[in-house]
């Protein structure tokens, strides 16, 4: 009788231990999603804004809706704590890069160029972007460029590259310094 109770106790212990290991494992494998990702709003922003009085629009084709999403992701990941104008500036830098001979030609090429953006390197680009980030991309796409043609920016508090300081600086918006 005593024996059986002892071994039962052990089996219980083993189960507890295994569960602990399992829980730790599952948690660690989900780490990349980041804390913010948990509090994601389920905003469906693929759906077009409700238009009560719809009139036909007329403008040259631009980026696809998916490229817009990708850029909004990059802007949100890079500058979600920045003033709105700073977010437009980030989107403008991405677009300026696509036009520059020194960078890839597509938004995706620019965004995913190795070491180009910290938010891509640490996975923050996969946070759910908000409406503001998407608006910022739209404004940049329509021509607004608070940076006046810049192709680089950096956060002076965290920048590790000495070279980036040698670029001619144009202006500071929020935490970022924009340069050519």
């Amino acid at each position: 009788m005593q024996r059986t109770r002892g071994s039962l106790f052990y089996i219980l212990l083993v189960m507890v231990a295994l569960t602990t290991v399992g829980v730790v494992y599952v948690l660690s494998s989900q780490e990349w999603k980041g804390q913010d990702a948990v509090a994601v709003s389920t905003q469906d922003w693929a759906a077009p804004a409700k238009k009560a009085k719809k009139t036909k629009t007329f403008h040259p084709s631009q980026l696809s809706a998916n490229d817009l999403k990708l850029m909004a992701n990059a802007v949100y990941g890079e500058a979600r704590g920045e003033p709105y104008i700073g977010q437009v500036a980030i989107a403008a830098v991405i677009l300026n890069r696509t036009k520059s001979p020194n960078f890839p030609e597509t938004p995706a090429g620019v965004i995913f160029e190795p070491r180009a953006f910290t938010a891509v390197a640490d996975g923050q680009i996969w946070l759910q972007p908000n409406e503001r980030a998407r608006k910022a991309v739209q404004d940049a796409l329509k021509g607004w460029d608070p940076t006046g043609g810049c192709t680089y920016y950096f956060n002076p508090a965290t920048a590790t590259s000495k070279w980036i300081w040698s670029r001619p600086q144009v202006k500071r918006i929020g935490k970022h310094i924009f340069c050519r």
Binding site: V21, A49, K51, T55, P101, P104, I164, V170
Partner: protein
């Protein structure tokens, strides 16, 4: 007794935990290594591809010097264009962003532009000039240099089994003396490219550069002070100096154009308004209001009317809405001047009109300020009927007018007939040169 019981319980637990942790650690480690290898392989692929493309680019440039017939030069230069583009794309996949390699990238881009411009030209009408042959010669010479240097790096990478992941780490710890063979190799390439003698890139590439230079020189007019700029900004938004707080910042010299950045907050403003006033001439180049839009009340047409009124009130008369778009409760319009029925597209102003109140929340006149000038209106040499016959007969033309656009080839302004038409449910605008009858440009519209 107590100790015995406790240890009897805890010992197996500890063993199990240890075994579990060990297994987990081992698994994590293998996973990490396999991801590292995957990442490394991506870099290796891009790097060896780069070498391959530069090799072939060099070969093709060499061939272009030997070719004598016009029939052969087009495919050859098309290959140069493709290979230069591919090489550029390879560079974009390597972790070189934060090190100086821009001269080499620019060189590749210009090789692509130059070869494209020559390849697509009608070489029977306008054969390769002596000047262009010389350009090809110097490109060949320069590409030899780049190829040789990259070949060294490639040999090192293969022989010494160098890893690109180490480049990443070396670049990350930047300021310490980064002694990395790959980085040094690429630095040497860049240095060589910097030492290249000036290449004559021809009209197309140069005129685009020239245009950029002009922009940097900026808008003409008297220089204005900070105070004057703020006064201009306040007048533009129709507010009193004492009513709002204005932060002004002078932009760095290297800006595309010299300007003051002004941010207006407080007072009657619900949300901040950002504007830029040019230093020369003191013009508002753009404005952006961060206001959120409430419920939409206006149609796009009503919003366009409101936008035109705004322009009129701010000294931009006779503008018509040439393009329209809508998102997030906004009507976004591109206004262009229309003079005697001719639309002048280079002088564009973009407006954002809020569909709740009809206010203008965005104004962008950079194009207008750079391009606007008194123009002598030329008369078309061919009639609209004649131009119409130049449009693809499959296009159902619904609308036509005269317009000035920037030519694709050299960016110079050309007078065109603009035909708007449908082909298989898609809308296109076709521009036919009003002097020569050439097809200048085709724009696909989305609605």
């Amino acid at each position: 007794m107590v100790y015995g019981a406790v240890s009897r319980v805890l010992f197996p637990v500890a063993v199990l935990a240890l075994a579990g942790a060990g297994m987990w650690g081992y698994q994590e480690n293998t996973e990490k290594n396999s991801i590292l290898i995957k990442a490394e392989n991506q870099y290796q692929r891009a790097f060896h591809d780069l070498n391959y493309h530069i090799d072939k680019l060099h070969d093709e440039l060499g061939k272009s010097l030997v070719i004598n017939s016009r029939k052969q030069i087009t495919p050859c230069l098309t290959n140069v264009w493709r290979l230069a583009y591919a090489a550029q794309s390879d560079v974009g996949q390597l972790p070189l962003t934060l090190m100086p390699f821009n001269n080499t990238e620019e060189f590749l881009a210009k090789v692509a532009d130059f070869s494209y411009a020559v390849a697509v030209r009608d070489l029977n009408a306008e054969p390769l000039s002596q000047q262009e042959y010389k350009t090809l010669q110097s490109l060949y010479k320069n590409s030899t240099e780049i190829m040789k240097q990259l070949d060294h790096v490639q040999t090192d990478v293969l022989d010494k089994k160098l890893r690109w992941m180490d480049v990443e780490t070396a670049l990350a710890s930047d300021d310490k003396k980064s002694d990395n063979t790959i980085i040094d190799g690429f630095r040497t390439v860049e240095k060589r490219v910097q030492e290249f003698p000036e290449v004559d890139w021809g009209v197309t590439v140069q005129s685009l550069d020239h245009k950029k230079q002009q922009r940097i020189k900026g808008i003409s007019g008297r220089s204005v002070s900070k105070e004057e700029a703020v006064a201009t900004a306040l007048q533009f938004v129709g507010l009193n100096r004492n009513a709002v707080k204005a932060d002004v910042e002078e932009n760095g010299r290297s800006n595309e154009y010299q300007a003051y950045s002004i941010r207006l907050t407080g007072g009657p403003l619900v949300s901040p308004v950002n504007l830029e006033v040019t230093k020369r001439g003191g013009k508002v180049s753009w404005l952006l209001n961060e206001r959120d839009i409430k419920e939409e009340n206006l149609t796009l047409d009503e919003a366009a009317v409101s936008g035109a009124k705004f322009l009129q009130a701010h000294g931009y008369a006779d503008m018509v809405a040439a393009e329209s778009d809508t998102y997030d409760g906004l009507g976004v319009f591109v206004f262009v001047p229309e003079k005697n029925g001719v639309r002048i597209y280079p002088d564009a102003i973009t407006l954002k009109v809020a569909l709740d109140t009809g206010d203008v929340t965005g104004f962008h006149a950079v194009e207008y300020l750079f391009n606007h000038k008194p123009r002598r209106m030329e008369k078309p040499k061919i009639s609209q009927q004649q131009a119409r016959t130049m449009v693809n007969p499959n296009v159902r033309v619904s609308n036509s007018r005269l317009a000035i656009i920037e030519g694709k080839k050299d960016g110079k302004e050309v007078l065109c007939y603009e035909f708007t038409g449908h082909l298989q449910d898609e809308v296109y605008r076709v521009y036919i040169n009003a002097k020569t009858g050439d097809e200048e440009e085709i724009v696909k519209l989305s609605s």
